[in-house]
């Protein structure tokens, strides 16, 4: 069975979505108040200077003309130049992307095993004290504000115990792991409970399913039933949730990035919005859209792999 045509179709469907996104983000940033030129030049620039730079950047042209020239450049693979930094948007994005991807991957590496272990333990001991404890911890994990947890972890594990750096991302693989541990942990503390609640519920549901009862009746060993039938079948809904979360992590790790001074895509987006750096906002939005599509497509592919009955 070949999945290529299905994947191709998905990618073609992406085109109108991307065009829509460029139009919406273009209009949103252009029509919202605030002027990137004023922010770039600083307090003391005169109104004449601001006007001169606006004209130089083409901001005095009609909106449709500005959009056409933007879209034209985009077709040639040119995301344009940052208004604020006067550097290519693509360079700015690619400059920080490795950190964000590294952090997101790190979070997954910490979260996935923890999720599976905690969910299995909780589900197998449903209603017992272990399960209650895991559920209470989950609620705590989900409700602690990430920025507060970040500051506390940095002050305690970083400053008092000196175990981890409190900022930056280090040089080289091992150093990255060391520097990004606290950011990854802070994010996982919030992510794991969400996934655990989801996975625990679906394991419990599968444990009651007819085919499981039938397998037990057939005398299959409990361990085999759990590993071969219950777990794989319970994973699908959580996998979909995880997909959404990954897409969210790539764009939404802003708080953790700010608390631990690891400037990534999220920080770039926030700064671009505050500085009204239109081209960077548009470029990043396109990136997020692409990223989200790639992640959901990957999740779907993995789903068909886990459960061949799932169609793309």
């Amino acid at each position: 069975m070949s999945r290529i045509p299905a994947i191709g179709l998905r990618l073609v469907q992406l085109l109108p979505v991307l065009i829509g996104i460029t139009i919406v983000t273009f209009l949103l940033v252009k029509l919202s108040p605030g002027d990137p030129v004023r922010l770039m030049l600083g307090d003391r620039a005169t109104e004449e200077t601001v006007a001169a730079v606006r004209a130089q950047l083409g901001f005095d042209l009609p909106l449709w003309k500005q959009y056409l020239s933007y879209a034209g450049n985009l077709l040639q693979g040119d995301l344009g130049q940052s208004i604020r930094y006067r550097l290519p948007v693509l360079d700015l994005i690619l400059g920080v992307m490795p950190r964000t991807l590294f952090l997101a991957t790190y979070v997954l590496v910490l979260s996935i095993p923890a999720t599976v272990i905690l969910s299995v333990v909780a589900a197998r001991h449903a209603g017992k004290p272990v399960d209650q404890i895991i559920r209470i911890l989950s609620v705590i994990g989900m409700t602690i504000p990430v920025f507060w947890l970040g500051i506390m972890l940095a002050r305690f594990l970083g400053v008092e115990l000196g175990l981890f750096p409190v900022s930056g991302y280090g040089d080289g693989f091992i150093d990255h792991l060391h520097h990004l541990f606290l950011p990854a942990l802070s994010t996982s503390v919030w992510l794991v409970p969400m996934l655990v609640r989801n996975l625990r519920a679906s394991i419990l549901e599968q444990m009651e399913a007819d085919y499981v009862v039938a397998s037990r009746a057939k005398g299959l060993p409990a361990r085999y039933i759990f590993g071969r039938h219950i777990l794989p079948n319970s994973l699908l809904p959580t996998l979909n949730l995880l997909g959404v979360m990954i897409a969210f992590l790539i764009g939404g790790s802003v708080i953790v990035e700010i608390v631990y001074a690891v400037p990534g895509l999220g920080g770039l987006m926030i700064e671009a919005v505050l500085a009204r750096d239109y081209t960077v906002i548009q470029g990043l939005t396109l990136f997020y859209a692409l990223g989200t599509v790639i992640v959901t497509l990957s999740v779907d592919l993995i789903s068909t792999w886990i459960d061949p009955r799932v169609q793309l």
Binding site: G34, Y85, A154, R155, V166
Partner: protein, 505 residues
């Protein structure tokens, strides 16, 4: 089994996303964190905090300012002002750019005229009096002024008057400043990571023998106040700019961290919109000023680390009138004035940016105005909108701060109090012909005693007329680690980075 494969895929992804290798830390690199970003390396293009600090490290200026505030030779080894005060002749020292090429009079003329004339020049005011600049010979520059102008030589020390390479800028154009500019100051750019940090390395051709006293520096952009403090305590920084006042006492008490609280030319005040009701009425402005207990506000905002402001000018500029009694706190008087005024009870809009500090300040103003019956509502917007509405005079009151880039008060007065100098008194539309006239007279007066009297008069008039409501003069809340020695921030917002030694590796 599938899980195992998934695990392997994740591991592979982790291996693939190895971040780009970054510079290894040499031992005597000075690490400074600030919330303000470097957004351009071109000295002509911005007058925003962050860039101001950076320019000083990259581009040498003709004049330097000594620790005591006096002027001393920079790239100009000597200078002479003609008797009529209209011609300044500077002798350029034998110095080189970071690429090894000589710094000539042509480069100086080019750099100064660029700041004065470039359409996108963010701040040409310091050089507005310059009529003509020409090279006498390779090492002599002759500057002709429109008229005698007392602050002119001092203005050659302002952050955007640094010398750039004419040849490089003409050859590379805009690209000359996007990655590795040719510099004339103590440092060159080793690597610029926009939105993250600027990594500086010592300029081997810097004219001052034996400077900089370190191998380089990292200007790290850390927007969160708490994170800077945590990094400082954890020893990941040598200096942190802008420690929140609430944490100053804690940091001061820690071993290995000092907070000298250097004087700054920063002034916190609230703008008032003179072009519409209610603050177009002098009595409402005076009532609003008398209603505010500035001593208490200073204490509440800065834990008493700042001085209470008494005039419309920053406390650290020359000729600041220390004897001016200020507007005074008098609720009864304020109530009376408000009653006599044209105020109709409509709430005034306090426009602030989205920061905890401005919000606290706005709430304090609102509460104290409420006591005398002056209603106000707080409107919170982001920096982009604030900078659209304030220049457009679409606000009533706007608590904020500004600073003066040089000790001479001329630029400060032009910026904040002069109605015809471009910014219409920091967009308050305060316009007093007498103040405007005094501004020009004071700038042309070469006798310091007479100048002092003129600035005193400007402060008296503008404070009495409540051009703005002065609140407090904060020092810099910078923290320094004991790994380094010799780093401080000058009142002109410049780090003394080249003097900084790393004493503990």
């Amino acid at each position: 089994m599938n899980l195992k494969r998934l695990g392997r895929a994740v591991g592979l992804l982790a291996a693939l996303t190895l971040a780009s290798p970054a510079a290894t830390h040499a031992e005597d690199i000075v690490r400074i964190a600030s919330a303000y970003r470097t957004t351009t390396l071109d000295p002509a293009l911005s007058a925003a905090a962050g860039n101001i600090e950076t320019y000083g490290q990259l581009y040498g200026r003709l004049i330097r300012r000594a620790a005591d505030g006096s002027l001393e030779p920079g790239l100009a080894e000597s200078w002479a002002v003609s008797d009529d005060g209209k011609t300044v002749t500077l002798k350029i020292r034998d110095a080189k750019f970071s690429d090894g090429s000589p710094i000539t009079a042509d480069d100086v003329v080019f750099s100064l005229l660029r700041v004065r004339d470039l359409k996108e020049s963010a701040y040409s005011a310091p050089l507005q009096q310059l009529a003509e600049a020409k090279a006498g010979d390779a090492q002599t520059v002759i500057l002709t002024l429109k008229s005698a102008f007392a602050p002119f030589v001092g203005n050659l020390e302002v952050f955007n008057t640094g010398i750039v390479s004419k040849k490089d800028v003409e050859t590379r154009g805009e690209a000359a400043f996007t990655t590795t500019p040719v510099t004339s100051g103590p440092y060159v750019v080793k690597e610029w990571r926009p939105n993250d940090r600027l990594i500086l390395a010592a300029n081997p051709h810097y004219w001052r023998e034996g400077y900089p006293k370190n191998d380089g520096a990292e200007l790290i952009e850390v927007v969160d106040d708490n994170t800077r403090v945590t990094m400082m305590i954890a020893g990941e920084l040598d200096a942190a700019r802008g420690v929140p006042w609430s944490q100053v006492a804690d940091l001061k008490g820690r071993d290995g961290i000092s907070m000298p609280l250097e004087p700054s030319t920063v002034i916190f005040m609230t703008l008032l919109n003179h072009s519409r009701a209610p603050f177009n009425d002098l009595k409402v402005r005076q009532a609003a000023a008398h209603a505010i207990d500035t001593v208490a506000v200073t204490k509440a905002m800065t834990f008493g680390y700042a001085a209470t402001a008494n005039t419309t000018l920053p406390g650290a500029v020359d000729f600041h009138d220390k004897d001016n009694p200020g507007l005074g706190y008098d609720v009864e008087d304020a109530k009376k004035l408000l009653k006599e005024s044209s105020y109709d009870g409509k709430p005034a809009t306090i426009l602030i940016t989205d920061s905890a500090e401005s919000e606290r300040l706005a709430v304090l103003l609102q509460a104290q105005w409420a006591v005398i019956g002056l209603n106000a509502k707080i409107e919170k917007v982001d920096g982009g909108v604030w900078w659209e509405r304030v220049p457009g005079a679409d606000y009533d009151a706007a608590p904020t701060w500004w600073y003066n880039e040089t000790p001479d008060p001329d630029l400060a007065v032009r910026w904040a109090l002069c109605g015809t100098c471009g910014s219409e008194s920091y967009y308050t539309k305060y316009n007093n012909a007498k103040v405007d006239e005094l501004t020009e007279t004071a700038a042309r007066e070469l006798d310091p005693v007479k100048r002092g009297a003129l600035y005193k008069e400007i402060q008296t008039i503008s404070t009495e007329e409540v051009a703005q409501i002065p609140l407090y003069y904060p020092p810099y809340a910078n923290a320094y680690g004991n790994r380094i020695k010799g780093l401080m921030m000058t009142p002109s917002l410049q780090w003394t980075l080249e003097e900084t030694e790393v004493v503990q590796p």
